[in-house]
């Protein structure tokens, strides 16, 4: 996927004017937050669960190597293989090699953001292997040559008409705008693919160290067909998904669906534990887990470590007023919204992603709903610090800031400045209480009036009052 994060502002401007997108975002805002709130309200101990999940994740991150090695040992015991990949390229090559060993022509895929991160689909196509997305949203996007704009509802930026149009064009069927009919149509098309696939690739929501199992949650069951029908199942997962035990996994599952969609549980919670055993009815003959690092282990022990607690529920973006205004594609890479604004700079570099951690008012709503209490505004601010240290912030901003800081650290001078500035603004206001245009503040006055000072500064008036009181 091409990186478009440096164009965030232009993309956002276009997104704000896109009526179709705005309609779709309206549906998101009307849906997820209310459902989450209702689901959370039904669990009196929800806040305690968040604390437990926070602490448990921190514990895991302190012992990440230990749990990953235990996970690997159990996978091998179960007859599977674990591949450690430090970069996207390592992961792509590893997956390609497994596919080639199976002489694979068609690969079905369950929903996986990590495979987006490593740009797997394009790579497989370049190597004459046909990836078929089987999650309904991902399937629609693949038909359209599009990418996810949301980590759990990838096609949230589309409306029914868009889906209807895409299906009509690619399925060569009469056009329908009935969601049930469209669903049935997708189902029919995908059945053939599930059966034809040589390899099934899924992501993982959790990796369970004690059993060597991987877990995916879905609402469509497509993941089950992807991982049980083909001869070979490849799980592509990032390293921070590991949890010690099944019981620990259950704690996160209690938080995950509620935070994400407001469901108590996702419809399908499917564990895969290695190769098909002799007595098993079904299951893959070959089971591979591709562990992707891609910069994550570099975050351990740094001020960004908290980000690795993320369980990809999407609550932060569902509640973010910026995401809700511009949608996920504006962020210009794989992970949008607040979690993406922290993760993306780590993966593509702050040089390219600098606009993302700045695109926040620090309203704190994301942190308020995060099931594992990631201090997202604080982490975004840490990226701004990096940006400032590396002199990446725009010159005008740096100069403005240092000029302001010069004054703000000299109270006497500051008072002189503020009283003059107040006077100038009052003159510009001409007694009307507001100005409609203000030099150097076009960003403000393009869209709104600027209320002007109502009189001398408080410090001036307070001084005058103190002097009067002292006079006999």
């Amino acid at each position: 996927m091409d990186i478009k994060s440096p164009e965030f502002k232009q993309s956002a401007r276009i997104a704000l004017q896109d009526a179709n997108l705005q309609k779709a975002l309206g549906n998101l805002k009307a849906g997820f937050p209310g459902k989450r709130a209702a689901a959370v309200a039904r669990v009196p101990e929800f806040e305690e669960l968040r604390d437990q999940a926070h602490d448990l994740k921190n514990h895991i991150l302190e012992h990440l190597d230990l749990y990953l090695e235990e996970f690997e040992a159990r996978v091998v015991e179960n007859g599977g293989q674990v591949h450690w990949c430090s970069t996207s390229e390592d992961a792509r090559q590893t997956i390609l090699q497994i596919c080639r060993e199976q002489n694979a022509k068609t690969v079905t895929k369950g929903k996986s953001m990590v495979t987006e991160e490593i740009n797997l689909n394009e790579f497989l196509e370049e190597n004459d292997i046909r990836p078929v997305e089987t999650d309904l949203g991902e399937y629609i996007l693949q038909l359209r040559g599009d990418h996810p704009s949301h980590i759990i509802a990838p096609a949230i930026h589309l409306n029914l008409e868009d889906v209807s149009e895409a299906f009509h064009e690619h399925h060569k069927r009469p056009k329908s705008d009935d969601p049930a009919e469209l669903m049935a149509e997708a189902r029919e098309m995908l059945r053939k693919q599930f059966v034809a696939a040589d390899v099934g690739i899924t992501g993982a929501n959790f990796l369970v160290a004690e059993t060597g199992s991987t877990l995916i949650v879905t609402n469509e069951g497509n993941g089950d067909l992807t991982q049980t029908l083909p001869k070979t199942h490849i799980v592509v997962s990032s390293i921070e998904k590991v949890v010690p035990t099944l019981e620990d996994m259950s704690l996160f599952l209690r938080l995950l669906a509620r935070s994400a969609t407001g469901q108590e549980y996702s419809v399908y919670n499917t564990l895969s534990s290695g190769n098909r055993r002799p007595d098993d009815q079904d299951g893959p003959e070959n089971f591979h887990v591709v562990l992707v690092d891609n910069g994550r282990s570099d975050m351990v022990g740094t001020q960004f470590q908290d980000m690795l607690r993320c369980i990809r529920c999407s609550a932060c973006m569902n509640h973010c007023p910026v995401y809700g205004s511009v949608g996920g594609h504006s962020y210009g890479w794989v992970y949008p919204g607040p979690m993406g604004s922290v993760l993306t700079p780590q993966m593509i570099g702050i040089e390219k992603a600098g606009l993302l951690p700045n695109a926040s008012t620090f309203c704190g709503k994301c942190e308020e709903v995060c099931p594992v209490r990631i201090p997202l505004p604080k982490l975004m601010r840490h990226w701004r610090e990096k940006e400032y240290e590396k002199h990446l912030s725009p010159k005008a901003v740096r100069w403005g800031l240092s000029g302001w800081a010069f004054l703000a650290t000299r109270p006497r001078l500051y008072r002189l400045f503020s009283s003059s500035a107040s006077k100038v603004m009052r003159m510009l206001g001409g007694g009307k209480g507001k100005v409609t245009k203000l030099p150097l503040a076009a960003g403000w006055t393009d869209h709104r009036d600027m209320p002007t000072p109502t009189g001398k500064t408080f410090m001036q008036q307070w001084d005058e009052r103190q002097k009067q009181e002292k006079q006999p």
Binding site: A12, R13, L16, P321, V322, S325, V326, N358, A359, S360, T361, F362, C363, G364, K365, E367, E368, R381, W383, R384, E385, K386, E387, Y388, V397, L401, S402, W404, A405, A408, T409, P411, S418, S422, K423, R426, M427, G429, G431, K432, G433, K434, T436, A442, G443, W444, D446, H447, R448, D449, P451, P453, T454, G455, K456, T457, F458, M459, Q461, W462
Partner: protein
């Protein structure tokens, strides 16, 4: 000043740079409320701004300088009170700026323990119930983000406002959603900020209230400016103006004063 038998406790007013420059009435109303609650109010001259523009731009060195200056300016006051959840919230961030072995850390912690936003101070710390205000009207209340989420300010202003007989509170939809101000955000991401503030003024207008009230001037200037641009009739005021019974002056963005006297 009050005639209490014990000498009144001295509090330091953290004016906030926006109140200082754009709306001194807000600082005077805060002074009045503190005096009604029996405190002696002092305004340390060595204060400027809380440092948030630098902090949120990643310039920690400048932020530390401003923090040290503010800590020194308010040394010795039993309480430090300001009419803004955002600026007081920033004072609460000061300890993060200093290493554990830096002596300024303890001083920052000490300031944090003494620093309160005005409405939460009146309700949570001193249980004040002497509101005198003849304000009449239907208002709606915007919960500013920093106050709400960093300092837990939600019911305190509402409780104080409920003491005003002529006041009716019509809650708007999404009262807790950000108005899009965000300090420099509103200029750096003007288009997004505009969408957010438009949503907010729409909800405020739909509430049926004739006055939009809040506790942070940044948000209030933003929303008032948008309401003006949209040609809506709604007035905008800081909550302390209502609580102190100081609503004779023009609302935010409405001022109509005589320039000739001063210029």
């Amino acid at each position: 000043m009050s005639d209490t038998h014990t000498p009144p406790i001295k509090v330091g007013l953290f004016v906030t740079c926006l109140a200082d420059m754009f709306r001194p009435e807000v600082a005077f109303a805060t002074v009045k409320l503190l005096e009604q609650a029996g405190f002696l109010v002092d305004v340390p001259k060595a204060q400027t701004c809380c440092g948030q523009p630098a902090f949120n731009s990643g310039d920690n060195e400048s932020t530390r300088k401003i923090a040290r200056q503010t800590i020194e300016a308010f040394d010795g006051y039993r309480y430090v009170i300001g009419p803004s959840g955002s600026c007081i919230g920033m004072l609460h961030h000061y300890p993060e700026l200093f290493a554990d072995d830096d002596p300024w850390k303890a001083r920052a912690e000490d300031l944090k323990a003494r620093a309160f936003e005005i409405t939460s101070f009146l309700v949570d710390e001193v249980d004040f119930s002497g509101i005198q205000s003849d304000f009449k009207g239907k208002i709606t209340y915007h919960d500013s983000c920093s106050g709400l989420r960093e300092l837990g300010i939600k019911q305190q202003p509402r409780q104080l406002l409920s003491e005003i007989d002529g006041l009716e509170l019509n809650e708007m939809q999404e009262a807790e959603t950000c108005c899009g101000f965000g300090g420099t955000f509103c200029v750096k991401y003007a288009d997004i900020s505009n969408r957010m503030v438009s949503n907010k003024t729409g909800f405020a207008a739909d509430s049926g209230a004739d006055t939009l009230v809040g506790g942070d001037l940044g948000c209030l200037l933003n929303m008032a400016g948008k309401l003006k641009r949209e040609g809506r009739e709604m007035e905008v005021r800081h909550v302390v103006e209502l609580l102190a019974g100081m609503t004779d002056s023009a609302a935010i963005g409405d001022a109509d004063y005589d320039l000739g006297q001063e210029l």
